[in-house]
Amino acid sequence: MRKVITAVALSGVVASQTLAGETINGAGATFPYPVYSAWAYMYYKETGIKLNYQSIGSGGGIRQIKNRTVDFGASDAPLKPQKLDEYKLYQFPAIIGGVVPVVNIPRVKAGKLRLDADTICHIYLGDIKYWDNPKIKALNPNLNLPHKKINVVHRSDGSGTTAIFTTYLAEACPDWKQKVGAGKAVKWPVGIGGKGNEGVANYVKRLRYSIGYVEFAYAKQNRLAYTLLKNPAGNFVAPSIQSFKDAGATANFDPNKHFYLWMVNAPGKNAWPIAGASFILEAREKSSANKKVNKFFKWAFEHGDEIAIKLDYVPLPKELKEKIYKYWEKNGIAP
């Protein structure tokens, strides 16, 4: 009898040790959660190593890695190099997503309305009040736009999507930068707030003559009427995996700045102007934990592109992946 108990106890110890050794803990951004958990599932099936990712929000992810309670944190907004030095963190991008303006105007179909940064900026500032404003008309000579008030919809909760959208406006429109600024939550001059992407998608679907902004996947799944946007190269582009990829390929990520970059207004000819990367944060002193985390992401970069595209995310371009591998090697955290 005693033997059995000891055996059970021993196996318990062994099991818990292997389990503890084979689990990676991460926490943070909600936006990349579906793709991280899909990768984690595939990785577990292949290697037996578990990745436990809690989507508690970017703010929470940053706090957790700052307090060293997780192996990695995840944030939709990049941290500035000074902050990374202060918190002693490494940072690299893992996945790319796009933000898409969507409208609800009767008889205007998806991909028909053309907008540029300046117009969107002044709609969200409340200066452009009606759909038949000369500025919008000048961009859309072929559309018959009604004299109806524009219902502006934005996010009510703090979010990486808002951070990307407002950074885009602040970069392209000086008035926005001066009056509102960029951030995960801002003081909106006009409009009503929807909670989450689903909240904004719901309002835009329901309220006639409205405009909102959502992640690409939500626009696609809810069949919302997305707009074309004029990019810095002067072309009107439609949101698609390809135009997000072009944005990723032409965005200049710098490993010496720990990849700190907002991927908005990328210079590529067909680049979608409102895209953003989601970032991974690691503690500098924990090189063995980092190697485990990086092994996972290296595996995901090599095997996970297909599933990411299926989930409406954009995988990192090849050159950027190479840059990240070099960044790991330079800092001695390559898997």
């Binding site: 929470g60 219902n151 009510s156 703090g158 509102v180 995960k184 003081k187 009503i192 909670k195 309002y203």
Partner: protein
């Protein structure tokens, strides 16, 4: 001769004492933690300045609680205004008017209403009630009440269904069962002999309800209202989806607004700077103190009424 307490009694005493002591510890540690976490914001913005500042600007790190406080106040008052008459009507119907076979099904239905999780009220509000409000109810109100001078100011603006009015309606539906079931139980406690005496004196049914039963059940009804008030003050998920979280003070009920709980639910996860997080904790501390004070005042009045009553 002094009898020694049996061991089981001593153990029971210790266990029950520590259980009740735990409640006190929890309350005090909650206050302490809230105060501790919000101390940064308290030092930066002060108390009165924070309460009376409408500006809520995370980009420039300026925070003020005036707008969410106003929203909390308006939604709570409005929802009580909607809920009290309805709930009292239900209670009176159930005790006096309803035929016997209807009493228990309606009573059970009301109690089930109280058991629905608030997130379900929230989703229902967003997907079902808000469109109805925007399409039918709010335009109709604008055409009627909105035409009256002064009062019309309350109904200005584009009806979008995401506003103080819709939030108050959702909230009132949520608190109706609390008031109704407690009021029904108190009305049921009216001694039959009093009712019968009144009838014997020639009182009508309405006279009995108005002059015998309601005065008799007054305390219980107040108690139910206080309970509902506490619920409305702190309710989060039922209103988080239909209020918009816009930090503005507007006279119109058809404008998006914010309450303390809605702000917390919307902004807590992504608050990344220390002062932002601290300001959110500060809001939570204010709500905690506010509910505490309101419940204390209500308790005080109840006690006073009770004493006057027993005399």
């Amino acid at each position: 001769m002094k009898r020694k307490l049996p061991l089981s009694d001593i153990i029971f005493g210790i266990v029950s004492f520590s259980a009740s002591f735990l409640v006190l510890t929890l309350i005090f540690s909650t206050i302490l933690i809230l105060y501790n976490e919000s101390s940064l914001a308290i030092h930066r913005f002060g108390i009165l300045n924070f309460i009376f500042t409408e500006n809520w600007d995370p980009v420039n790190e300026i925070f003020g609680a005036a707008a969410p406080l106003y929203g909390t106040f308006i939604t709570t008052v409005l929802s009580l205004l909607f809920a009290i008459p309805v709930a009292l009507g239900i209670a009176i119907f159930l005790t006096e008017v309803s035929p016997h076979f209807l009493k228990s099904p309606i009573g059970v239905a009301i109690e089930m209403l109280a058991a629905i999780p608030s997130i379900i009220y929230g989703m229902w509000g967003l997907f079902t009630l808000a469109p109805i409000m925007a399409e039918y109810v709010e335009p109709a109100l604008q055409k009627t009440l909105g035409q009256i001078p002064l009062i019309g100011k309350l109904f200005e603006g584009e009806p979008q269904g995401i506003d103080l009015f819709t939030a108050s309606v959702v909230l009132s539906i949520m608190i109706v069962p609390f008031i109704a079931s407690i009021a029904r139980d108190s009305l049921n406690l009216t001694p039959n002999i009093m009712k019968e005496s009144a009838y014997a004196l020639g009182a009508t049914k309405w006279d009995v309800i108005k002059d015998i039963m309601i005065p008799y059940a007054k305390l219980g009804i107040y108690g139910g209202i206080v309970l509902a008030l506490g619920r409305a003050l702190g309710e989060t998920m039922a209103v988080a989806f239909v209020l918009g979280n816009n930090h503005q003070i507007t006279l119109s009920l058809f404008e998006a607004a914010a309450t303390i709980t809605v702000t917390l639910a919307n902004e807590f996860t992504e608050a990344d700077t220390d002062i932002y997080l601290s300001s959110l904790f500060y809001l939570a501390l204010i709500l905690f103190v506010l509910s505490f004070v309101i419940l204390a005042i209500a308790k005080f009045f109840l006690l006073k009424a009770e004493r006057g009553y027993s005399r």
